[in-house]
Symmetry: C2
Subunit: 394 residues, 2 copies
């Protein structure tokens, strides 16, 4: 007999762990919990009672019977708290209020001048959050925020954000303290995008590449069901990988030959403009492509091809089961993926690409914002955090 490695998570048997199993759909009845954890029914019941007392758990309606008394369904009380999401991009910011199930209660997206300073944007964010929270009675359990570039998740500042100048080293917490005292969590934009694919359910695949193809190019990594590099504040730099085809084209990063100069959103827009087609942002280009504009369609497909070349290296290394296509280019999914497929199948090792699926990001344009919420919710409902909360209440 061979002992294979842990198939599912065994994160403990505390009340918080039970809630985690319930909200990740690994168990939805008392019986399930007892089986999964090895705990007796009575122990499960007593823990669940604490959770219900704390208002975190709902005993939903009964499930379909399997021949006897139907089990009472268990589910997280999504309205026990709300969390706030703040996704800041180069030229757009999104804020939202979410329930604990990750559903958006209310939200607000605004464009701003590219590379806006924190001193200009943050007061605006604070005001918008205040407005969204006006009618909300549930307490705020946390804030999840994302920035492009590298962040310091401990000091809660940007570290190296090439596309939004003036943010590096600026502490963000003071602004958000005006909204709530709940803990702030900061991560990279691609990292939260990846989180949005993992949140609150059995993920599409245990190992997957989560591509963010917008103005810049980046990639998040899920290996064995978990986000690689979680909490380190950066993600895969895809855009500044040297590719032969880029020759010595100058990149916005200062180097030459970067993938971005061929396939980054800013480069595609520049190409399109050179050809006399009006477009200011990669979103415009994607829209044109969807409308059938031939140059835009060609550029997007080519971008997919170039990105796929670099992706194929990652695919060879990791043998992912799925590639999630996020970012603005994901808006023209079929077209873009056709390009990706071409070079992935051409360059990838057969074993690595045989079972590869391509999927659009679950939350589309709001994926990053949903990921911010996921960041805050996962922290607030982490088993240890829940246990601490119950201890405080008891």
């Amino acid at each position: 007999m061979s002992t294979t490695t842990l198939p599912t998570s065994t994160p403990g048997t505390s009340a918080g762990a039970l809630l985690h199993l319930v909200r990740t759909r690994q168990a939805e009845t008392r019986g399930d919990l007892s089986r999964v954890t090895g705990l007796s029914r009575s122990s499960v019941a007593s823990r669940l009672a604490s959770l219900v007392d704390a208002g975190l758990l709902l005993e939903g309606e009964e499930l379909a019977s399997t021949g006897g008394r139907p089990a009472g369904g268990l589910q997280l009380n999504p309205d026990a708290n709300v969390v706030l999401g703040v996704a800041v991009g180069r030229s757009r910011s999104q804020v939202g209020v979410f329930d604990l199930a990750g559903r958006e209660v209310s939200g607000d997206t605004r464009d701003h001048e590219p590379g806006i300073s924190p001193e200009k944007l943050m007061p605006d964010v604070v005001e918008r959050l205040g407005t969204l929270l006006a009618g909300v009675t549930a307490p705020v359990a946390g804030i999840g925020m994302s920035l492009p570039g590298t962040v310091d998740p401990v000091r809660l500042t940007s570290v190296d954000a090439p596309v939004v100048r003036g943010w590096d080293g600026v502490p963000l917490e003071p602004w958000l303290r005006k909204v709530t005292d709940a803990p702030l969590h900061l991560d990279n934009d691609t990292s939260v995008l990846t989180r949005s694919e993992l949140f609150g359910r059995v993920p599409a695949a245990q190992t997957m590449l989560v591509l963010k193809a917008s103005t810049g190019l980046a990639m998040g990594l899920v290996a064995d069901g978990r986000l690689v590099g979680a909490g380190r504040g950066h993600t895969g730099e895809l855009g500044h990988t040297r590719v032969e085809a880029a020759g010595d084209l100058p990149c916005r990063c200062g180097a030459t030959g970067c993938l971005e100069t061929l396939a980054g959103g800013w480069a595609l827009v520049a190409r399109l403009q050179e050809q006399g087609v009006e477009a200011r942002h990669i979103r415009d280009l994607v829209q044109l492509a969807l409308d059938g504009e031939p140059q835009a369609r060609r550029l997007l497909r080519e971008a997919g091809r170039h990105i796929g070349e670099v992706l194929s290296v990652a695919a060879n290394l990791l043998h992912p089961e799925a590639v999630i296509v996020g970012g603005d280019m994901g808006g023209a999914f079929d077209l873009f993926v056709a390009g990706l497929r071409e070079s992935l199948y051409a360059n990838g090792h057969p074993g690595a690409t045989r079972a590869l699926r391509f999927l659009p990001s679950t939350h589309g344009e709001a994926a990053g914002l949903h990921g911010c919420a996921a960041l805050a919710i996962d922290a607030a409902l982490a088993p240890e955090a829940v246990d601490a909360r119950l201890r405080g209440r008891a």
Copy 2:
């Protein structure tokens, strides 16, 4: 305050978990264990008593005092069991007996005809293991075995081993049952090499790339302190990534343009032969390079450069803290790494390569075999396995 993600492992508080903490040097006194797990001294003591009873734990001599009574050191009893390692390569097989600390008790390395069949090799392996076990009294706790290519760790067979023909689908367990009834664990050769770097200590880095550069080229991945894709039976295909510089050189895999055609051991040897220098194996070439043969030196450094190009993609994606250089080419560490450095610093993103260290594999030529032992030991001493063992005894 921000809640950062788990810095160290909290795998539980069972006796097995305590042993795990001790043998991974995360704790070496009762006080440490109490602090790390949150358990009271008495609970720790009772668990440790079971472990001592079972012969798994030794109460070593006292440690240096910190101002009061010195703590009694705890350590795994390395002689409670032995494990067997079997590392099969294309033209060489290594077997060994190891204690639970991963030290080689005895071992045996033999060359064989390239691509030997299991029907010819396995009886030989069985016989050699029998010889090595002759004077051993400790019971065998497991066998760890590695093969090149992709394996099925559940069915315990090779799945796709391009370099050793005739192994695919052949069950290996029956042969080894002649040696012992202890569980057999099978994994890929690069995977066990990576395990050898993680075994029984705080690893050199939490995120690292473990390169295996021999006849073929592959890479294992450690992210956040754990082996990525553990138990899936394959590792990163580095060798069959398309690189521009390879043009349409034919690869042994059937495709063209693979990195291996430029930098794989077999290709380097072929080049050297073309230039009239005698060499049959990459190990010969490495030895020539160490002796100062200029062509061999040039080829190795160039190989490093080519491999570094592909590695830089991985480095950009993962921001590793270290690159471990294993495989035969690691024998000429300085030379080979000089090549790696060149292209990693040229092609890598500054943030990704700033703090990058290059380290030789800890166990050199025997790294794979040590990794096989690590595979078996980690399985035998996994917290759950230890707990089960204690239950059986009680």
